[in-house]
Structures are given as structure tokens and as C-alpha cells.
Amino acid sequence: MTEISKTANKALALLTELAASGPSTPQEIARRLDINRTVTQRLLMTLYARDFVRREGGSYTISPRMRRMADAVLPQLRPLVGRLDAELAEATGETVVFKVVDGDTVIVLDEAVPSAVFDVRARHEVGTRSDITQSASGLAILSAMDDDELKRTLRGTGEDLGVVGERIAEARRAGYAVTSGELQEGVTGIAAPVSGPDGVVGSVAVLIPTMRANNLTELHRLLMNTVTQMEYELRQPSLTGGADQLLSASSSGAA
């Protein structure tokens, strides 16, 4: 990726740190992030002025207002993905993840783990990033892109288009993608793309420890049911306002 801004980078690292550690003094933050105190103070003032953090006594915390911003993250997609991922996780007894595209990578938006305890589980936490060509989730998303999108997405990856192209074509024919041990050793992933009115929005994947990945047919059936339900609900107008934004944003002239 291109050059990044060091200051903005520190501000974002500070937010992540603060969310993980809870209320902290500037001194504690400076020490944990290994940046000097003057810089820390300045970053805190910047975050405070925009209400990203609050101050109580001598400590700073993430502002409750950030809840509203979190609710604005893919507002139509996230609640339905959360609910349907959880249902699929219960039905399959395996971990389910939903990934969204970020350039030539994919990021976990939602992870659902079945409630049954004490078992070997494949885990893939929210916010985790991987190359789009590296997992079943990524290949599934690529298989649902049109040629323009595909070209633009793969431009920077330096991938051998012949090899990836073949796998994408395969996923396109099948309607889903399977990989084993490519991203995480010992984990098999089976993934299918999910499309909204304006194209692919992400993919849903079931992650299975490879040692018990012997009934993919049944998993595949359950997975496709979930995808059908997600795509159906994505085409319904939203109850809580998200769809308007999602639809108007995408339809107002895709570049």
C-alpha cells in the first residue's frame, strides 16, 4: 500500500489501545504505545475535540458516542449477517465468518462460533485481514465480480492471472470455493459470495478443522441456504434506515 500518515496512524493505534485497556491516563497510554508524552497529549486533544474519547478525572476512555459510529458500519448488512451467521454456526456446529473486500484484501466483518463448548474450533476474529487470493472467502468474492472489478482488484497483487483465473473460473462454475490449509494450517474453508442489488458485498464461509471436514455436501447445502436468505433480505428495504444510504451511495454513479 502507499505511504501512510504517521500522526493519523498513531491516533488510530491510540484508539485501539484505549478500547483494549479501558480508562487510561496519558502517561499510561504514552508508555504502552511508546510515544512521547507531548505527542500523546496532542493526539488525545485531537480525539477529544471530535468526541472520539472522553475524559473522566485524569483518565481517558472511548467516547460512548463511538457506539453511533459503530452502528453506521454497513448498517444494512451487519445486523442480518450477524443473525444469519449465528444460525448457520448452530446448524453446522462450525465457525462461520463473513468477510468484506478492502482493495485486494478481505477483512472479517463478523464471526459466529457455535455455542457447543469444548471442541476443536477454527477461529478467525473480526478485523483479521488476508489476501483476497488466499482463502475460500476471497476466491468466492472474486468469482462474483465482473471483469472490470476483477481487473482492478487484482492489478496490484502480482498474482499469476493464469493460476488465479483458473481457480476463480472454477468457483464461478460451482457457485462456491473450497480451500484447505492455505490461510490457516489444518483449516478447511467453504465459502460462497453474497451479492446485493449493486454487486458483490462479501462472502460467507464455514471454517472446519480439516480433520473432520468429511461432509462438505451437507455443509454446502446449509451454506447456500444462508446465502439465499442473505441475498433475499439485502433486497428488502431496510427497517432502520441503512438501505437508503447503501443504495443511494452505490447507485449515484459507480466510477
Binding site: M1, T7, T16, G22, L43, R83, G103, I107, P237, Q245
Partner: protein, 247 residues
């Protein structure tokens, strides 16, 4: 603050402003964002690259930018704002009426409990908990929200013959159900409305059926609690429209 000091904090501020812009209108292109923030393309380019490293924004295949999963993680440990604003009033209501009181908010086709106060100290009471979900079409706390939704899409959650229920709720200003979520329970719920009159949540009192009549007498308190919370929320929201001065 002068010179270098201002300049360095400013880059971080651009990043925050990009997030606020996307919160107001998600799915913008890089040049749209550059115009809104009023900085050059190369600066926005760098800011967005930084935000993407942290998964605070993502880029879709069509070249548009969206708020990212990192923001969800930031808010994970946070109370809902209505809970922060309403906790005090909710506890008073529960105490006054001697019943369990909850605040719920809509999330997709469901409602989620974000605050809960137990008022009854006796043996028979309703136990409820934060995080409990139910369909938006069932239970007083859900229906009070559903009756005041901006979007006409609500019709798909209800049978046409049930739409009258919502009209009735709007006519009287509250919802009342018996045994819709759990048998032997009655619930009374009032919407928490924004300035335009749409529901951002609801307050509900839930009681065992045997105390249904007592619950009847709590209507006025319930409605005034909903108004207090709505006012508190509106004040809070209007307090920081465009950043604020640091004291």
C-alpha cells in the same frame, strides 16, 4: 498552539473527519472526500491508506470507501448511548413502579435490550438481561418501536391484518401486550422518539400477570420516563454537532 504542533495534530484530525464524513454518508469516492475535507488528493490518499491499515475504512471493488470493522471493535465494550443517557431515569421508574424496566433499541429486524433495572424486591419478579433479542414484530417493547419507524418496510414483518395494532399503538402512545414473549407476563412500552417523531428505542415495564392491574396505573410514569430519556438523548446529540472546544 503554533507551527509544527498544530500541523501534526491536523493530520490526525483529517483522519477523524474522513470517518465523520463517511458516518454521515457512507460509500464515497476519494475525490468526494477530498472536497468535503477540503484538502488535496495526495493528503486524502495518505489519510485513507492509513485508515485502511487499521481497517477503519474499506475500499470496495467500485472504488468507494466505507466505514470498517475496526469501529465495531472500538465500540464493543461500550454501553449503548440510550443506556448511558437513560440509566438513571430507568432505575427511578423501576423503583417507583416496583417492576422490571428495560430500554430496547432496534437492530435490523430485531430489538435488543440495552439497559435493565429491577424494581421489585419480592420473590416474584421478571428477570431480564442486557443483550436479549427478540423480533421487532413481537412484544410491547418491540411494537412500540415498530409503530414509529420511518420506513414503510414494516409491512413485511406483520400480517396485513396485524397492521391495525400499530395504528392503535400510535393512537394511544404506548404498546401493551400479554404473554407474547413469555407466558404469564404483561408488558407496557412507550417509544423514545427523536426530534422528528421516529422511534430510536423504547422503555418498557414488564410484570407478572398477577400484577397486571398495578401496571395499568404506571402508564403516566412510563410515558414521562420515555420523554425524559428522549430529551436527554437529543441534548447530548446536539451538544457536539461539529466537534467541540476542549476545556
Amino acid at each position: 498552539m503554533v507551527g509544527v504542533t498544530v500541523e501534526t495534530a491536523q493530520t490526525a484530525d483529517y483522519a477523524l473527519r474522513v470517518l465523520l464524513e463517511l458516518e454521515a454518508h457512507d460509500g464515497q469516492t476519494m475525490s468526494e472526500l477530498a472536497d468535503k475535507i477540503d484538502v488535496g488528493r495526495s493528503v486524502v490518499h495518505r489519510i485513507i491508506a492509513t485508515l485502511r491499515v487499521h481497517a477503519a475504512v474499506t475500499r470496495d471493488p467500485r472504488g468507494r470507501y466505507w466505514l470498517g470493522p475496526m469501529l465495531v471493535l472500538l465500540a464493543r465494550g461500550l454501553q449503548h448511548e440510550l443506556a448511558t443517557v437513560g440509566d438513571g431515569a430507568l432505575a427511578e421508574l423501576a423503583e417507583l413502579c416496583q417492576e422490571t424496566a428495560i430500554i430496547s433499541v432496534p437492530e435490523g429486524d430485531q430489538s435488543v435490550v440495552v439497559a435493565c433495572a429491577l424494581g421489585h424486591t419480592g420473590a416474584l419478579r421478571v428477570e431480564h438481561e442486557v443483550g436479549f433479542r427478540q423480533p421487532l414484530s413481537r412484544g410491547a417493547s418491540s411494537l412500540a418501536i415498530l409503530a414509529y419507524q420511518r420506513h414503510p418496510a414494516i409491512s413485511r414483518l406483520l400480517q396485513p391484518e396485524d397492521l391495525g395494532v400499530l395504528e392503535e399503538i400510535r393512537a394511544q402512545g404506548y404498546a401493551q401486550t400479554t404473554g407474547q414473549i413469555r407466558s404469564h407476563m404483561v408488558a407496557l412500552a412507550a417509544p423514545i422518539l427523536d426530534e422528528d417523531g421516529w422511534a430510536i428505542g423504547s422503555v418498557a415495564l414488564i410484570a407478572p400477570e398477577t400484577r397486571a392491574e398495578l401496571l395499568e396505573s404506571s402508564k403516566a410514569s412510563l410515558l414521562s420516563t420515555a420523554r425524559v430519556i428522549a430529551d436527554g438523548y437529543a441534548q447530548r446529540k446536539n451538544a457536539q454537532p461539529e466537534g467541540r472546544s476542549s476545556k
